[in-house]
Amino acid sequence: MTTWTQTLRRRITRRAPDDAADPQPDSGQLGDAEAVAVEIDPNDPILTYFQSAPGPVELDTLELDSTAVRDLRAAGVALVVPLISSGELIGTLNLGPRLSEQGYSTDDRRLLDSLAAQAAPALRVAQLVREQEAEARERQKMEQELQVAQLIQQHFLPTTLPQPPGWSIEAHYRPARAVGGDFYDVVERPDGRIAFAIGDVTDKGVPAAMVMAATRSLLRSAGREELGPGGVLAQVNDLLHGDIPSRMFVTCLYGILDPRSGALRFANAGHNLPFLQTDDGADELRATGMPLGLMPGMNYVEVEHTMAPGQLLLLHSDGVTEAHAPDRAMFGTPRLHDVVAGGSNERGGMLGRVLSELERFTGIGWEQEDDITLMSLRWEGEPAASIAAERTFPSRRGIEREALAWVAEAVSGTALEPARAENLKTAVAEAVMNAVEHGNGGDETLPVEVRVERRADELVVAITDRGGGRTIPITETPDLEAKLRGDQTPRGWGLFLIQSLVDAVRESSDESRHTVELVLRTDGGDNR
């Protein structure tokens, strides 16, 4: 119930001693009228009294402990005619004393009563019309605000995300109707590293959208400096503080990823913790810090982690974890953890998986309470190599034919085209020969290890010998003419064959071992 405020227009009649008998007020002199507001507390007993009064109420004779009655009397009100519509008190007609200085007659009261009976419904209609107009104006204003907020927000969200080789970076943003102030950003730095941010501005609507836009710009600008994630957040925090409305703040997680090494470094300003999907589940990566814009001079601890091929980092906003089911149960962090741990290795699979779990949880027709933002960074270039086969051979002359027969068997299930399989076999034979003769120096007691691995889009045969510290010389195409003239040895075809028959040759060595990897791309290589 609202507070009743009655504005009374009281006539002050300036009476000159000679016209004291003139009962007619001077209708042209509005300046004589004085508006007096009488506030009636919604709990004042007078309201109940008016509601049930059978007709006009004489204040002089009313015995009721009511502040409003005293105030009305003080304002010069003598008679109150309650206006009742559909059993509800919607207003009062307040009259001062009769100018004739006599009391109100029975006829007067009857007249007022019937006037009230007709005025009340009319007043009610007028009230309803005004209420509806006000509501429509408010709705329109909110609708316009919403559009502005959405426009700002959409403008400041990235339209495309950088995709470093071997990585898949994806994001999903779904605004709530009221637009909650979520944001995310991914930027490729000049040094090839990837800076990413996800954040949430408290509050909704245009103010939140403005703060979100400012925060994103400040993050981008700070990200261009030689600052770590902690330094970026500290700088943005100091810049935001003092500029953003009080009680408003921004949670934000900021990270820098080196896509070549998987090195990840991030800092957190009060945002939801990210999840790292691992081989045996999911880990929540912890980092804490004050939200941005609350207090100046904050430090943000940087957390380091090295991601491995095949792993995925999932960032989210609280619109995910704080979504409710019809029974008011909350989606919650543990449930999100389980979804991530359950894993999805398909491209774009994780975001889809989280969203479908969320939909299943919240049910059909869910009115989304807050913005939902998800971002995933997945290293898919070299997912954990699945070793298909491994075998050790003695360093015996002619052993290369056993090795190639074994490799042929090992790759038989990979649907390798026959010609490419033949090429691979010859390359393997040559590499094993080199391992036996050069790497192991023909010492039969030294092993040659042959490993067949299937990776994302590669078939790799790795041949390891005990000739550590050795590198294979750069191969030039043999000069057949010179060989035929007898100017060069007829030998020296091995490395040339290896390099000609597979898509790539990689070598690595440590103090005791030397490994040559023969690579065939399974997505269609050059050596068909």
Partner: protein, 111 residues
Amino acid sequence: MNDRFNAAARREAGTGIIDLVGVLDGDSAAALTEAYAAAAPEADRILLNFEPMTFMNSSGIALVVELLARARVEGRAVHAAGLSDHYRHIFEITRLSDFMTIHGDMASAVA
């Protein structure tokens, strides 16, 4: 895996034919030299029959290069027949096929 190499020499008209049987690798040197010596006299062309060959590695290629060099010095043309698609591909990438005439099979080579 012990299909040892042996090279048999025979002659048809002016062609000295060498049948390469089994694995042609570094161990085949002596047998191949011997077969060439038997096939070459009075032959103006040498035909290498790869049909019975089961395997060849880079050392085997070196032996073919050696034989080709010698035949060229002696003015004999070298032909090859019966190479599998894979070894034919290797003869192409090594450019051996630029210096010898390649036939699909023996029948067309001796025709």
